[in-house]
Symmetry: C2
Subunit: 277 residues, 2 copies
């Protein structure tokens, strides 16, 4: 089994000068693999397409990506498929070269074990000091300029902290370092609008198709005063917040209901999945 | 002559998983090479060090970088040396791995010919539509998250446009896509403060050591109403603005004086340098 494909060829190297390495000039996906197949493939592909459109990078065909994905995923019971698309060519200088095409790198990685305790009782989160810059031109897509997330994630090393929540420079609550954010109050779900900054996650997209959610501006007080709060990602599923600063929660019925629905749809995200591999 | 060194070894490939490719998790320099030696080496090194400090990446020793730079530059009469430092290791996930070290890539490229007409009569510039996001944590350093510059530079393909000027999201004038910005009015130089966004260029740093310059907030009207305006970079030197929207300038005496001083210090940037190689 080949675990890395660069432009369809088994390889573990990139050319020096790749625009991803030079400028972060590309987009990526991390896709959960379950029983040899990618989970939420259509949602990941949609986001790749949006990212390519924003950057002016030609999107590979869906059938090409799927056939390459299948070829490296097919023997994996549970894994992570990473797809990186960068602007092709090796041109130095910011100007995108016309007709430079796209370079694609697909690689297979071990998946994090589902954390039964985190799923069941929830995680402790913290507010990060770093504030996300407001850049509507790059909002929503999963581009390769991720220094803000790296610096935010570097703020803590205490293993008891399960995620860091991020505010933008205006003080709005946006997301976690590698997850989206949902809050419930008075029986209604809300999640931050991601038209100024943040990444539109695929688990978030799946949830928006399952239940009614208001997409709106949220401030930290909306999070801290919520009845239920969770963060979610395509690799870790729905992780309820048990603690944030001075506030503590027990996992509520709305979150539990969504988790159960998720685990039925994607067994690889359920707390028992770790034991079956 | 080796023209690419990866961690000191002649190579033209990077490992898939390099943090530069994954997240733009690193910093870079483009250094003018003149008669086999890097120009403004100390200024470039200072900025690399500041960038490494911000990202928490260990800076290689100055002597190691210099010896590698010399080994690929020594036969070049006129060239560009690119240095890319990325966080070491191949860890997936935003969290920086403790002790991951640093990966260094040095490569040699052709230098742009000095443009005698641009030096002499000035260039036409435009205001870019893209607004720089305000992120003080990453301001000033030359990190690898450069999608804003790529998108801004993609706004025009007309070869008569020599640079695009950038405003930030608050509307302040900050820089050009690959150059810094200076304006003169009533005999005094001013240049934008770069503590919120923008890159502190080495040519800018050289100029700040030559003449008195006020570092301050500038708005587009300050640029358009200036007596003299130029953009500058370590690879193209000082390029006066001849035109910006409806405004036209002839090159003024303050700019000419700085240009002459620059060309004496760095002959490779003078309009005649192109003819000697």
């Amino acid at each position: 089994m080949n675990t890395i494909l660069v432009d369809g060829v088994a390889d573990d190297a990139l050319p020096v000068g790749d625009r991803g390495h030079a400028y972060g000039d590309g987009v990526f996906e991390t896709v959960l693999v379950q029983d040899g197949a990618p989970v939420w493939w259509a949602l990941h592909l949609e986001r790749l397409q949006r990212g390519c459109d924003v950057l002016g990078v030609p999107m590979p065909t869906a059938s090409l990506l799927r056939s390459e994905a299948d070829s490296i995923c097919r023997d994996a019971a549970r894994a992570v498929l990473k797809i990186v698309l960068t602007r092709g060519g090796l041109a130095r200088g910011y100007a995108p070269q016309a007709g430079a095409g796209v370079r694609r790198v697909l690689s297979l990685h071990g998946a994090p074990e589902p954390d039964a305790d985190a799923c069941d009782r929830g995680i402790e989160a913290r507010w990060c000091e770093l504030r996300l810059a407001r850049q509507p031109r790059l909002a929503g897509i999963k581009h390769l300029n991720r220094l803000e997330q790296v610096l935010a994630r570097a703020e803590w090393s205490d293993a008891r902290i399960g995620e860091g929540l991020l505010r933008d420079s205006a003080g709005d609550a946006i997301c976690a370092t590698a997850a989206n954010l949902f809050v419930a109050r008075d029986g209604r779900w809300r999640t931050p609008a991601l038209d100024i900054c943040g990444v539109e996650g695929t688990c978030r997209a799946w949830i928006l198709g399952q239940v009614e959610v208001e997409i709106c501006r949220l401030v930290p007080a909306d999070v801290e005063s919520a009845d239920e709060v969770f963060v979610c990602s395509s690799l870790r599923g729905i992780l309820p917040l048990a603690r944030l600063g001075g506030r503590e929660w027990t996992v509520g019925p709305m979150t539990r209901s969504l988790q159960r629905r998720l685990w039925r749809e994607v067994p690889a995200l359920s707390p028992s999945a770790g034991f079956s591999t």
